[in-house]
């Protein structure tokens, strides 16, 4: 399919502005000639219909949650309700300038204030900050709070952050960014934090322990109370990566497990759309003792109404412009009140039931390293298939031919040929049965006709792409005179 630049034709036009209604002067009356562009930027010239066709065709070459089953582990690809989209686009939200006088944005401030309370209730935390733009951003802020907390107590020897060896890469990247040494705690043969290894590695130098619960294997950390007590006894803080909240929501709250800081992914648990990679929103919740460190501004409620408070001497500062991903926050808020307390609990119960049901079916043909009740997600290994010469990647590509999106691949790193499935609660039983059937069929192909799997996908718009070439000879933009790639 052609690029938009290849469809561009001189003098075609896709827009119209009103005529200029003020006297027109020479631009160089206002701007020194040295700063005026000589040539217009080489952007497309295209009629509106061709633009619409272009993007429509492209959208058809893309697979979203509404295209089919999307069991990506740790991503919680649940249905994105349409009502959320509608309310986020209400004019009196969409066209609100962030620097308007506070008395003209009382609705927006109240919305965010209530959302903070809702998330406090769901997480069992005392204060919530809606600023972070994504989960990784929330993690970064969480670590800043940990650092701020220890620095304030002049506890400068705390240079280590513990993470389980099954941790998500952002945990390590965020900690490293703040200058922490990251120490990985081994998982035991049940896929949980090995308490002996934890005890050995936890000392007075730890600033904190970053955990997901359920963990990235979909297992609930049974020793969480002990982990919390030990971490706190050593003066460390406990951080909750909320990516997997869908596995416990309404059943147990991170705040009640002993966590000091929590980040949430509104684009996972709270149904806001992933947008092909964002925008998401990663609010964090804290226990009251950490509230003074939260970024500015804070929203406060007085008799006069809602307003922004910038007078926070212990605040870590500002981590983004303005106040949060407001339109994303609206969508999540809408979801929360769509479901209510019973609904959110039901979300979790069904997510967990669906995952266990699916795992039970896949067990027939695939090795399940931790074969016991999981929460909302689980990991299988394609190790048996690998021994027949077909890798997990091959299987994933073959799933595409059956109209399914593959699971999360090769993560967590502690499982070989890992495939992490998270069906979510919005997938029906028939879809789960169908998914299991497809996996069984592919396994049959591995035994009888492995090449069809190794060379998959066959029915997609392009076949398997050469990622080595893309990295060795990076071609990261279109250039007019380089249309043909050297082979």
């Amino acid at each position: 399919m052609d690029l938009i630049f290849e469809k561009s034709r001189a003098d075609r036009c896709g827009y119209q502005l009103p005529e200029l209604d003020v006297p027109s002067r020479n631009p160089d009356d206002f701007i020194p000639a040295d700063y005026l562009r000589r040539d217009a930027p080489d952007l497309p010239e295209i009629s509106e219909i061709d633009a619409v066709r272009h993007f429509t065709s492209l959208s058809k070459r893309n697979f979203g949650v509404e295209s089919g089953t999307y069991p990506l582990g740790s991503c919680t690809m649940k249905y994105n309700p349409k009502i959320n989209e509608d309310v986020a686009r209400i004019e009196s939200f969409e066209n609100l300038h962030p620097l308007q006088p506070e008395m003209t944005v009382q609705g927006a401030l109240e919305l965010m204030y209530i959302m903070e309370l809702l998330l406090c209730e769901i997480t069992g935390m005392d204060n919530v900050c809606l600023h972070p733009a994504a989960g990784a951003h929330g993690e970064l802020l969480g670590l800043m709070l940990i650092k701020g907390w220890h620095n304030q107590k002049k506890d400068y020897e705390r240079n280590t952050i513990l993470v389980p060896d099954s941790a998500h890469g952002t945990n390590l990247a965020s900690a490293a960014m703040l200058g922490y040494r990251v120490v990985e705690v081994k998982s035991n043969d049940r896929g949980l934090v090995d308490m002996n290894d934890f005890t050995e590695k936890a000392n007075e130098h730890i600033a904190g322990f970053m955990l997901t619960n359920p963990n990235t294997l979909g297992m609930f950390e049974e020793n969480i109370i002990q982990i919390s007590e030990q971490t706190h006894r050593l003066g460390g803080l406990l951080y909750y990566d909320g990516a997997n909240l869908n596995g416990i929501m309404g059943i147990v709250r991170p705040g009640d497990m002993g966590f000091d800081i929590v980040h949430l992914n509104l684009h996972k648990t709270f149904s806001t759309p992933h947008g092909s990679g964002g925008p998401g929103s990663g609010p964090i919740g804290v226990k009251a003792n950490l509230a003074p460190y939260l970024p500015i501004p804070i929203i406060i409620k007085t008799d006069a109404g809602y307003s922004f408070d910038y007078d926070r001497p212990l605040s870590v500062g500002q981590i983004r412009s303005f106040y949060g991903n407001f339109s994303v926050i609206i969508k999540a808020y809408s979801y929360i009140i769509s479901m209510g307390a019973k609904g959110l609990r039901s979300v979790c119960e069904n997510a967990v039931l669906n995952a266990n049901y699916l795992m039970n079916m896949l067990k027939k043909n695939f090795f399940v390293p931790y074969d016991r009740t999981c929460k909302h997600e689980f990991v299988i290994s394609a190790i048996k298939q690998k021994m027949k010469g077909v890798s997990a990647l091959d299987i994933a590509k073959r799933m595409l031919d059956f109209g399914l999106h593959p699971p999360t691949m090769y993560f967590p790193l502690i499982v070989k040929e890992a495939m992490m499935f998270e069906p979510t609660e919005t997938e029906s039983k028939e879809n789960l049965d169908k998914l299991a059937e497809v996996m069984a069929d592919i396994n049959k192909e591995v035994c009888e006709n492995p090449d069809i799997v190794r060379n998959a996908p066959h029915t997609t718009v392009v076949g398997r792409l050469d990622d080595v070439r893309a990295a060795r000879f990076p071609k990261l933009r279109y250039l007019k005179d380089e249309r043909i790639l050297p082979v």
Partner: protein
């Protein structure tokens, strides 16, 4: 029954039977009883769509949308072509995940490739990433890039850089202890960076200088002069650019920038009370391996068909883990799609025309405002579409009066610059009509 959860009681029964459990509670036996939630969370709902819409309209009605807007200061009321919202509302785009499975994500991958190309064209640079959160965090990422690439740790920020960008850079730098960044600000004179002070502060330990173009006051910084000073000492020139202005102004790449960043909200994203917006970052090809975030590259499949794929991922958090250039994972992809659609339909002529209209209307408004008694120019340097007006009247009084006329007036600069008491920053875009400008000046004239 909940409308987003398909499982009926019958489904659940069958599924529980298949896995050998008698109740759903059994699935949570591994959670210690003492921490389990005992009662329902105190949350409203479940509400029907009807009640939800009512609730949000009630909240929305407590907001005021000004009919006429003359405020910018980092967030802009812009013309957004109708096509933009329709494209980003296509569920294949907005409900999909990051395109790790390239064969079924050619749609978004190609859009990102087109986006990267367009941002390079606008900024005059060689490579772009797929987006960052906003202009302020893009500033922080650019500073880290420069510090890592030069091995130096002094960072000079022009005070005319958006205050929020400066604030975010400072927060990020404070916490990135390994980099040991020392930030200093360069003051301004007549609304522009003081080149003498900049020259004096430069030395071989400076990793980068960040300048905004046009700057926070709307004024054209002397980037040509700044470039000479910065490169003389082997430092990086980072320019924070307004993308609409680049329809008219010479690109930062042409002026010698090493990294260009900025806020892309003006390209198809509505004001949205501050977020989500669009951070962009472009640079030279030789620095691509330190560019944070996602990047899409072109390649071929086995049959030689052109395709697109996320590439150079080894830089990213999910592979390098502790050693990545940045921790960024999700970005603001859909906002980048909006920008791509915007730049497609506006095209080379549209972006120039928008910029031209902003320039003309802003200068017209500037001259008309100055005709009002008591209004004086804040600075005398060339500007693009934002300008500073000072007077004897308290800015709150001015804006309260304008509010009664349904006008959102200029931004009170004393909020960020205590020395700029009674200085207001006005913004004029392609959406402001001559009649609106007249109403503004009439209202200003009516003030006592």
């Amino acid at each position: 029954m909940f409308r987003f959860i398909p499982n009926t009681d019958d489904d659940k029964k069958k599924m529980l039977k298949a896995i050998g459990k008698s109740s759903i509670d059994e699935l949570f036996f591994d959670i210690p009883e003492e921490i389990k939630t005992k009662s329902d969370m105190k949350i409203p709902g479940p509400l029907s769509e009807i009640d939800i819409k009512r609730h949000f309209h009630d909240l929305g009605n407590r907001n005021m949308i000004f009919r006429i807007c003359f405020r910018g200061a980092g967030a802009y009321r812009r013309y957004i072509p109708s096509i933009v919202n329709h494209v980003i509302s296509r569920s294949e785009f907005y409900t999909s995940y990051t395109p790790y499975q390239a064969e079924v994500s050619q749609g978004i991958l190609q859009v990102i490739f087109e986006y990267q190309t367009m941002m390079c064209e606008l900024t005059g640079m060689e490579v772009s990433n797929a987006s960052l959160y906003d202009g302020a965090t893009a500033g922080a990422e650019a500073v880290f890039m420069a510090v890592d690439l030069t091995g130096k740790n002094r960072v000079l920020l022009c005070r005319t850089l958006n205050p929020q960008t400066r604030s975010v850079i400072k927060t990020y730098s404070n916490f990135s202890t390994a980099r040991n960044i020392r930030i200093e600000e360069i003051p301004y004179r007549n609304g522009r960076t003081d080149l003498d002070v900049l020259e004096n502060k430069m030395n071989e330990e400076v990793a980068c200088v960040l300048v905004q173009y046009p700057n926070f006051f709307g004024i054209l910084e002397e980037v040509i002069e700044i470039e000479k000073i910065v490169h003389k000492h082997g430092s990086f020139l980072i320019v924070s650019a307004d993308p609409i202005s680049l329809g008219l102004l010479r690109s930062p790449g042409e002026l010698g920038a090493d990294i260009v960043i900025g806020e892309g909200q003006s390209l198809g994203t509505p004001l949205s009370f501050g977020g989500p917006y669009l951070g962009f970052i472009t640079t030279k090809e030789k620095y691509v391996r330190r560019l944070p975030g996602r990047i899409v590259g072109e390649t071929v499949d086995r049959d030689g068909n052109r395709g697109f794929i996320l590439t150079l991922q080894a830089r990213e958090q999910h592979i390098r883990r502790g050693n990545s250039a940045s921790n960024i994972c999700s970005n603001h992809q859909l906002n980048a799609v909006a920008a791509t659609v915007y730049l497609t339909v506006m095209g080379k002529r549209g972006i120039s025309e928008v910029a031209e209209q902003c320039l003309q209307k802003a200068h017209y408004a500037f001259e008309e405002i100055l005709k009002v008694a008591g209004m004086k120019p804040g600075f005398s340097a060339p500007f693009f579409n934002e300008f500073v007006i000072k007077s004897d009247i308290d800015p709150d009084k001015i804006n309260e009066f304008l509010l009664k006329n349904d006008i959102l007036g200029g931004y009170d600069l004393s909020r960020d610059f205590t020395e700029l008491d009674k200085h207001l920053l006005y913004c004029v875009t392609e959406l402001n009509t001559r009649r609106e400008i007249e109403m503004l000046t009439e209202a200003l004239g009516a003030l006592k």
